[in-house]
């Protein structure tokens, strides 16, 4: 009797241990499965992109379609201009919104705004493009870099607003109380004590938001449209790296495909370098998401 009970508990124990080992194996396998695509994407980006990454790519404008050679100077300049403009438009609003949430947001209105910021972060970027199309492009009767920057700014605002809130809330209360004790009014306390203390975190947030909007093409399709020629006029159509990758990826020419890979390598390389630097400087709490 006791023997069979012992044997039964022994089998049960062995089975439980086997299940434990099996599921541990499944978890390790899942990690491998998750990392395989990353490896293959980076591998093909480097092997297919490195050949096209020439000085011409950076310094020439595109040739007439079908004539190999040329570069994407217009797209690089366009991306820089529109991302810069979007940051200039979006960052003050986003920081203001974040400060509002942190300073005055501990009530029902704050909860509503915070929730709306989260909702805004989840809005598909293509609908943002259509919104700006109706708001700016139709009345102005033309595609402009300004409209593109506006669409990118709308995508940037919720990201920077939330991170600003987090960073402002992290500022130790004793710092504020010291400022209040010296007789500083609230606005001076926030501007001269709280925000400077939170600046490194907010800068990180802005940089992350930049690397996010630099890769966006969907909001630009109907706003800045793309432009085969070099242009720095913000009231004209303008090119951007992701837009040019999209055009070249669906295009018929082999040299277009090669340049699309090279541009992708350039873009991903820049984003990864930025994310590594941010991570090295500010730790792991913050990550880049497209």
């Amino acid at each position: 009797m006791t023997g069979s009970l012992f044997e039964r508990s022994e089998t049960l124990y062995r089975r439980r241990r086997a299940a434990n080992r099996l599921m541990t194996g499944v978890m390790v396998l899942a990690v491998v499965v998750a990392l395989v695509p990353l490896f293959f994407i980076l591998f093909y980006l480097v092997t297919k992109g490195i050949g096209g990454l020439t000085l011409d790519l950076l310094t020439q404008d595109p040739n007439r379609p079908g004539r190999p050679g040329g570069g994407v100077r217009n797209a690089i300049a366009g991306s820089a201009i529109m991302v810069g403009l979007a940051t200039a438009i979006g960052t003050p609003i986003a920081i203001g919104c974040g400060v509002f949430l942190a300073e005055y947001g501990q009530n029902r209105l704050g909860t509503v705004i915070r929730f709306l910021v989260d909702v805004m972060a989840g809005i598909p970027s293509i609908t943002v493009g259509l919104f700006v199309y109706g708001l700016v492009v139709l009345p102005q009767k033309g595609f402009t870099a300004f409209a593109g920057a506006l669409a990118l700014a709308i995508i940037l605002i919720p990201i920077v607003a939330r991170i600003t809130e987090e960073m402002v809330l992290l500022v130790p209360r004793s710092l504020r109380e010291a400022a209040y004790a010296l007789g500083a009014p609230r606005w001076r306390t926030v501007l001269r004590v709280v925000l400077p203390t939170a600046t490194p975190g907010i800068v990180t947030g802005v940089i992350l938001a930049l690397s996010r909007i630099a890769g966006e093409a969907a909001p630009l399709l109907f706003t800045s449209l793309g432009n085969q020629f070099f242009s720095t006029d913000v009231f004209q159509a303008m090119d951007a790296l992701p837009l040019r990758i999209f055009v070249y990826a669906v295009g018929p020419y082999d040299y277009w495909h090669e340049q699309a890979w090279a541009m992708s390598l350039l873009l991903v390389g820049a984003i990864l370098v930025v994310s590594l630097i941010v991570r090295a400087l500010f730790g792991t709490r913050v990550t880049v998401r497209q």
Binding site: F100, T127, I163, T284, T287
Partner: protein, 324 residues
Amino acid sequence: MAVTTLGRSGHRLRLMNRLKPGDWLFTALVSAAAMVVLVVIGGLFYELTSGAWPSIREFGPSFAWDTTWSPSQGVFGAGSFIVGTAITSVFALVFATAIAVFVALFLVEIAPRAVARPVSYLVELLAAIPSVVYGLWGVFVLGAFIRDQLGPAITRAFGWAPFLDGTPLPTGLLNACLILTVMILPTVMAVSRDVIAAVPRSQREGVLALGATRWEMIRLAVLPYARSGIMGAAILGLARAVGETLAVTLVIGNRVGIPDSIFDPAYTMASVIANQFTEVESDLHRAALIEVALVLLVMTVLINVVARLLVWRVTKGQRAVVLE
């Protein structure tokens, strides 16, 4: 906030501050910045509704299930795009969640810190790759793999099943499904990881003290506690998949109609907008595309609201920086 903790003198301070024009101006400015969010979301709904109005008036509610999309005849229904979006994003939701939850469990429950941090970082790198680069990779690398290896293998093994037969084309539903799975994996993984890490230690210790193995502890103590949060993570991933545009536009093949096979070319809501909006054939065509965007917007907002509520319920009290 801090002022209130100062007690009576704080009240006096606040009263004094209320009289200061600087404070008044500052409050007004940051409140205005916060209102921008309200205005943008309101404006987005207003703009898309008014842009879509001709189409809404013309086709009514049947727009959501009618599968005719004919710019030349002026008849529009979003049925096949909604089906395309549903198939691709539900596929991505199921597979990404299955993988992501196990990865998250590995990171929180098994891996030592020295392993967990780099692995976590690498998986999250997937989220840093732009959509259009995924599309490029999907067209030229994954497409060839599906045509030459994966597709034939599937038809050989499951060709008898209804949705798994046909000719494996490089671009089509399957390609879009796989790309979306990879794209939403980091989102689901990161949120699941935070949710699982938020499960109280006492839960685990209680079960371990009863002699449970590690997997039994996960199954009995961790997963039940984290379940609604993991569902939230999955639904956040779903919202991303539904709204994903350029990668899908490049790899899905862009064809109107209900697909018969996992290899067929199809359309999603986002990809039909991206593909057709700049070359509309009539004002009604434009309005119909804007209505598709409106449906997409309403769907993603609803999905996001549900997801946020679920995640908030588990991680409430903990603040984590999650950038979507």
